[in-house]
């Protein structure tokens, strides 16, 4: 995601010069503080900000410094520096803690929740009363451990989603996530993916490709909040992307793969709204490799902070969730 056009550093004197076509002006953003403004497509997010329920951390990144989407995404989800590691950081936390259950709103199981701990998943479908078939299949799948577990899990989740809608739009998926999370004895962690932020060309500014993705995110956020009802007050939403994009717009009015980015936090469980950034600046010499926003904060520090302050994790637990990261102190006061 192009964080520089989402949480816009309009106070940085170099910003507008880097982005003559796609940059947003002070008048176009919703002001967050004297330095940052929010993209106008994130309307509900801005309302949350004014209510003390949204926070942004800028100039952050994972420990990955190359520019492959696929590896960047894997590192974000597995919480290590090794793109080949096949266990998700959230799964490690689930297996270390008690009373936590996760669900993926996805037709597969994303890496972030893959691992030892069993995780359920759900995706819209329209199987009507197929009770007899379900019994046959349950019996049949006893001959294969993996299919057996998956089927039992699918049936258990389905019991919670009986009134589910079939739409696969992001806001319906978010709304369903809220339903699962507010079911007694149901999961208390949900993961979803929203793709389409790879804006190499024709990215747009106030309107355009990035704006329409942000609008989708914004609507989804509202749908989640509405469906969570009272549980919104106990919830934190983290929206993270694998990396930021180049500070300077490219020759095709878009941006290429970069480094430092903004991470978005929402939820009734936040104590205050703020923008946290140790801002490195956008002058040529302060850019990472003279091209990207430099990263002054590791995303793992933010995630550690959320795990400790929101989920009640201990220091040894977060060190086990994010191996080889003792130097990355949990971000304090993030919640």
């Amino acid at each position: 995601m192009d964080g520089l056009n989402v949480v816009v550093p309009h106070g940085d004197k170099d910003y507008s010069g880097l982005r003559p076509n796609i940059g947003l002006s002070l008048a176009e953003v919703n002001q967050l503080d004297e330095f940052f403004g929010l993209h106008p497509a994130l309307q509900h997010a801005h309302k949350l900000y004014t209510e003390g329920q949204a926070s942004f951390v800028h100039a952050c990144a994972t420990g990955y410094r190359e520019r492959s989407h696929f590896d960047g995404q894997k590192v974000l989800e597995n919480g290590t520096l090794d793109p080949m590691a096949m266990e998700g950081w959230l799964n490690r936390y689930l297996s270390l803690s008690q009373h936590n259950q996760a669900i993926a709103i996805d037709s597969g199981i994303p890496l972030i929740v893959r691992g030892q701990q069993g995780v359920s998943s759900w995706y819209p479908h329209k199987l009507r009363a197929k009770q007899k078939q379900a019994e046959l299949l349950r019996e049949l799948f006893q001959s294969d451990a993996e299919l057996g577990e998956n089927f039992d899990s699918a049936m258990a989740v389905d019991a919670m989603a009986s009134s589910s809608s079939q739409s696969k739009h992001f806001n319906n998926l978010m709304s369903q996530a809220g339903k699962f999370l507010s079911t007694p004895k149901g999961p208390n962690v949900a993961v979803l993916e929203l793709s389409g932020f790879d804006t190499h060309s024709g990215q747009g500014s106030v309107q355009g490709r990035l704006a329409s993705k942000l609008r989708q995110l914004d609507k989804g956020l509202l749908a989640l909040q509405q469906s969570l009802g009272e549980r919104w007050s106990e919830t934190i939403v983290i929206a993270a992307s694998e990396f930021g994009r180049t500070a300077k717009e490219n020759g095709t009015k878009g941006t290429d793969h970069g480094t430092g980015n903004a991470l978005l936090l929402f939820g009734g469980a936040l104590n205050q709204s703020k923008v946290t950034a140790n801002w490195p600046g956008l002058s040529k010499e302060s850019l990472y490799q003279e091209r990207d926003l430099a990263a002054t904060m590791d995303i793992r520090s933010i995630l550690k902070g959320v795990l400790i302050e929101h989920m009640g994790a201990t220091q040894p637990q977060v060190e086990a969730v994010f191996p080889d990261s003792v130097d990355l102190k949990p971000l304090a006061g993030v919640v």
Binding site: E66, R67, S68, H69, F70, D71, P83, A104, D106, S107, G108, I109, R114, S120, S121, W122, Y123, H125, K126, L127, K130, K132, Q133, L136, L137, E139, L140, F141, Q142, S143, D144, E146, L147, N150, F151, S153, A154, V157, D158, S195, G196, H200, S201, N250, G251, T252, D256, H257, Q289
Partner: protein, 453 residues
């Protein structure tokens, strides 16, 4: 103890190395090894698709017309027509692909073609390639899958669909004629994916400088605004030499990029990256031994592909009777349709593939579809599969009624064709316990023996 589900050579040919047996095939189906020597099967609907150049010409003309339009209403009408035609082309090309998968008698040929098509993936979520999303597969992969890697790599990266998909058509060298005049610049998207996905692989030891240098070397690789075929545009090309992986490339013009691709195709890391992926695709985890033998064949024949496929098929592990992979949604869906020998409508097929999470040419990434079992074997995916099994079973039962064929006769014929006398006993019991014909078909298609391969 694991069950030996795939005991006959015929079942392995169809299930592990093919697209599933068709119950209406009357002649003996050629073995995968024989298929390598046979001319490729191309379904008439694929053969009749318009060329990418013809489709691009139509859209170019429409876009020009829209630019010249004087009123807003005229502009809107043209935009509407563009959208409709785009949807129309996309529907047609998806349907042609689906018929190809449904009817080919040479399942191994098609599996290999689709492997390469996924390796060099084009995704139709990028609008400018939507109406030509299958053209790379049909115009390049089908012509090169049984030749050598270098010629395929070059043809892929000089095809309009790839150049448009990864933004290279307008990538402009900063010191080129056009770069000096206009405010246009370099786009490194294609260069990055050539190194990361097409050739060396992400651990191939290249750097950001190598990406930039390759991006410069292939500036000017674009398409003609008249013929809509590949055209090298000198005025976009960055002059001067580049250094890639420690080697200087000082050739002028088009040859510079081609020389780099030649070296990348012959790089041992490329060979390793690709044979590992190919071995895993067919044989899953623990395929290192097969993959090493394939690597040796690749290096020995300098990237000729037939010897590599032959080593794969002749490897002792190839015909093991135990499950090696979980069928992908696309493989499973067509195995179901082929076992039933039915053809749902174009819209039904597209809808069901979408529901299974694998609509053709919609991987949403130049990396193509992920290819590990964990990506498709999950609770929610299983529910989607179950739902589609019911939908297809209903279509089958309607068609049997219409043709006055009994459901039990059909089921018996299907089982005979798929497994002979080796139908897993758990499946036999579940089929016997199912009270209605529809559920019997569903149980067969959902059985572990059918879902794995």
């Amino acid at each position: 103890m694991e069950s030996a589900w795939y005991q006959s050579r015929q079942t392995v040919n169809q299930q592990r190395f093919g697209l599933g047996a068709r119950t209406d095939s009357t002649t003996q189906v050629a073995e995968p090894l024989q298929q390598l020597k046979l001319p490729q099967f191309v379904h008439s609907s694929v053969a009749h698709l318009p060329s990418s150049a013809a489709v691009l010409a139509v859209f170019f003309e429409l876009t020009e017309k829209r630019k010249r339009a004087t009123s807003d209403s005229e502009k809107r009408a043209i935009s509407k027509s563009i959208n409709q035609q785009m949807q129309g082309h996309f529907r047609n090309l998806i349907h042609a692909r689906n018929l190809q998968t449904l009817y080919t008698p040479y399942g191994f040929q098609e599996r290999v073609v689709q492997f390469w098509s996924n390796h060099f993936a084009i995704s139709a979520d990028v609008r400018r390639v939507k109406p030509i999303a299958s053209s790379l597969e049909n115009e390049v992969i089908r012509a090169h899958w049984d030749r050598d890697f270098l010629s395929m790599l070059l043809a892929v990266n000089q095809h309009p669909a790839m150049l448009l998909y990864l933004d290279n058509h307008q990538s402009t060298g900063p010191s080129s004629k056009a770069g000096k005049k206009r405010n246009k610049g370099l786009n490194e998207n294609l260069a990055r994916e050539i190194l990361e996905l097409h050739t060396l692989g992400v651990n191939g030891g290249y750097t950001q400088e190598d990406v930039l240098a390759l991006a410069k070397a292939i500036t000017g690789w674009s398409l003609s605004n008249k013929t809509f075929d590949f055209q090298f545009k000198e005025q976009l090309h960055e002059p001067g030499g580049v250094n890639i992986l420690g080697k200087e490339y000082t050739q002028p013009g088009l040859i510079q990029g081609e020389t780099v691709l030649f070296d990348l195709a012959n790089n041992a890391d490329t060979a390793k990256h690709i044979v590992d992926k190919l071995a895993y695709h067919f044989l899953g985890a623990n395929s290192e031994e097969a993959s090493q033998a394939m690597l040796a064949a690749w290096l020995e024949s300098e990237g000729s592909l037939l010897p590599v496929y032959q080593v794969l098929l002749n490897h002792p592990s190839a015909y093991e009777p135990f499950k090696r992979r979980f069928r992908s949604p696309n493989e499973w869906f067509f195995a179901v349709l082929r076992s039933a020998a039915i053809e749902p409508s174009a819209k039904q097929m597209q809808g069901m593939l979408r529901q299974l999470g694998q609509e053709p040419f919609m991987a949403l990434s130049p990396a193509g579809w992920p290819d590990s079992d964990a990506d498709f074997n999950s609770p929610s995916a299983l529910t989607q599969r179950w739902q589609v099994a019911n939908q297809v079973a209903q279509i089958l039962i309607n068609s049997l009624k219409k043709n006055d064929v009994s459901t039990s006769e059909k089921l018996t014929a299907m089982i005979e064709m798929l497994y002979g006398s080796n139908l897993d006993q758990h499946t036999q019991v579940a089929i016997a316990n199912a009270s209605d014909p529809l559920s019997k078909f569903v149980v067969l298609w959902m059985s572990p023996q059918f879902q794995y391969r």
